[in-house]
Amino acid sequence: MKLEDEKGFDITIIGGHDKDGNPEDLNLTIYSGEVVSIVGPTGSGKSQLLGDIEWMAQKDTPTGRKILINGQVPDVEKRFDIDSKLVAQLSQNMNFVMDVTVKEFVEIHASSRKIEDSEEVIEAIITQANQLAGEEFLEDTPITSLSGGQSRALMIADTAYLSKSPIVLIDEIENAGIDRKSALDLLVKREKIILMATHDPILALMGDKRLVIKNGGINKIIESTAAERKNLVLLEKLDKKLLMMRNKLRNGEIIDCIGWE
């Protein structure tokens, strides 16, 4: 199988200013394989940050930010080239409008990516998606009948294997029966830079660092501390417990044991 090698990719964000014109003191480089979470209230400017990266802003967007690729000013003519899009966006909405099976869907996507011998990739994507989703689906399941969790799992696996974009933006992976940690691990393994806008403490703490957005500017960069990482372990345990109870509920069982062994 032929896949593009994205090793060694990095982006640098050079600060502009916030909504009131106060300078944004920032020179941040993010390397492939890094997970960065973005936190901040709704409307604070998370999408604009992403927009700046996608557009390879050169002080020509409302924030005045500048983006460097591998330390260089990128060729801005590439902005409109769909084959060199920097950001693959996993949006919150996961609706499918195409009337095809899972296999056909991935095949069409692979062919639009000009990947030959796609059999192997297609199989890998469907297997991975099934591992992430928990509820099994088959290659001849119509994509329009996938559940929310299954669709999301399929899109994450698809992005990991088929998208050439070196940066993946995730807009909140809600807890729709999908293994979030494995999902992130899969993308990291494919040498992607992951930017994840989230309000979920588990996801936020999974990031190597998190950017705090306030009034349109990056206000703070927090590196996870040892205590935070310890809390993450605790939160994950809690989350597993909750998942277990949800499954019990689903199977018609009684929720009577809530001990913390």
């Binding site: 999408s47 927009g51 557009w55 020509d60 967007t61 409302p62 902005r79 409109f80 769909i82 693959a88 966006q89 996993l90 949006s91 909405n93 996961m94 609706n95 499918f96 409008v97 195409m98 869907f105 991935v106 069409i108 996507h109 639009s112 990516r113 669709s151 899109m155 698809d158 992005t159 088929l162 998208s163």
Partner: protein, 227 residues
């Protein structure tokens, strides 16, 4: 004055994209006006007026909307000059998928959406093929993979166009469209300017009001299916 021709199938978000783009231009004190071409009726002029954008409406009624466009655009251009506009935008719906209301020498923008299905780019024809910029809307309601597949299909039909993903509700992407509008050259008039593609041919008895089915009633430019 710059003339920009915008077209696209009904309900793809033409008016939303144009209004959001004009917002950016107005901030730079660029004066923009719109001519809205439609078939039967439109309320879009109300949306433009609410934003204090100079607007004129042309309803083609029983006529082919494309023929209606080309026989009115010169006067519309003169209206724009009289209003002292910096940019005049013509907005029209491609109703029979054969329409291509683009002029040589004026920026041509085609607006389509992700919900139309992946075979649509091939069906739209000249409206898509002859555009300089293709705007794809409603990307927020489909998956990443579908967006990519759709854009690829658009590129198969029109490899030269710049493809922009725009969210008509939030306006994400319209800043870049506004930049591209500003790069467009100025025109003094439309005298002797040429269409990019021929209009749909039509001159038969039905164009003139005939309603009865049958060979005896068909006069003029008639084409039969080879069954």
């Amino acid at each position: 004055m710059k003339l920009i021709t915008v077209s696209g199938p009904p309900s793809t978000g033409k008016t939303s994209v144009i209004i959001k783009t004009i917002d950016h231009l107005s901030q730079k004190e660029i004066k923009v006006g719109v001519i809205k071409f439609d078939c039967l009726s439109t309320n879009d002029d109300i949306l433009y007026k609410r934003k204090k954008i100079a607007v004129q409406v042309g309803i083609s009624g029983g006529l082919c909307p494309d023929h209606f466009f080309v026989s009115n655009i010169e006067e519309c251009f003169e209206w724009g000059l009289k209003e002292e506009l910096d940019i005049l935008i013509s907005e029209s719906a491609g109703l029979c998928n054969r329409c291509s209301p683009y002029l040589r020498g004026s920026l041509a923008v085609c607006i389509i959406d992700n919900l139309m299905g992946i075979h649509t780019p091939k069906k739209i024809g000249p409206m898509l093929r002859y555009a300089d910029i293709v705007v794809i809307t409603k990307g927020d309601i489909v998956s990443q993979a579908e967006r990519e597949i759709f854009a690829y299909r658009v590129k198969e039909v029109n490899s030269k166009a710049k493809i922009l993903f725009i969210n008509g509700i939030t306006g994400q992407g319209t800043l870049h469209l506004a930049d591209l509008f500003m790069k467009e050259g100025e025109r003094e008039n439309l005298k002797d300017s040429k269409l990019r593609f021929t209009m749909p041919a039509a001159l038969c008895s039905y164009c003139l009001g005939e309603m009865t089915v049958g060979k005896d009633y068909q006069i003029g430019n008639i084409k039969n299916i080879n069954l």
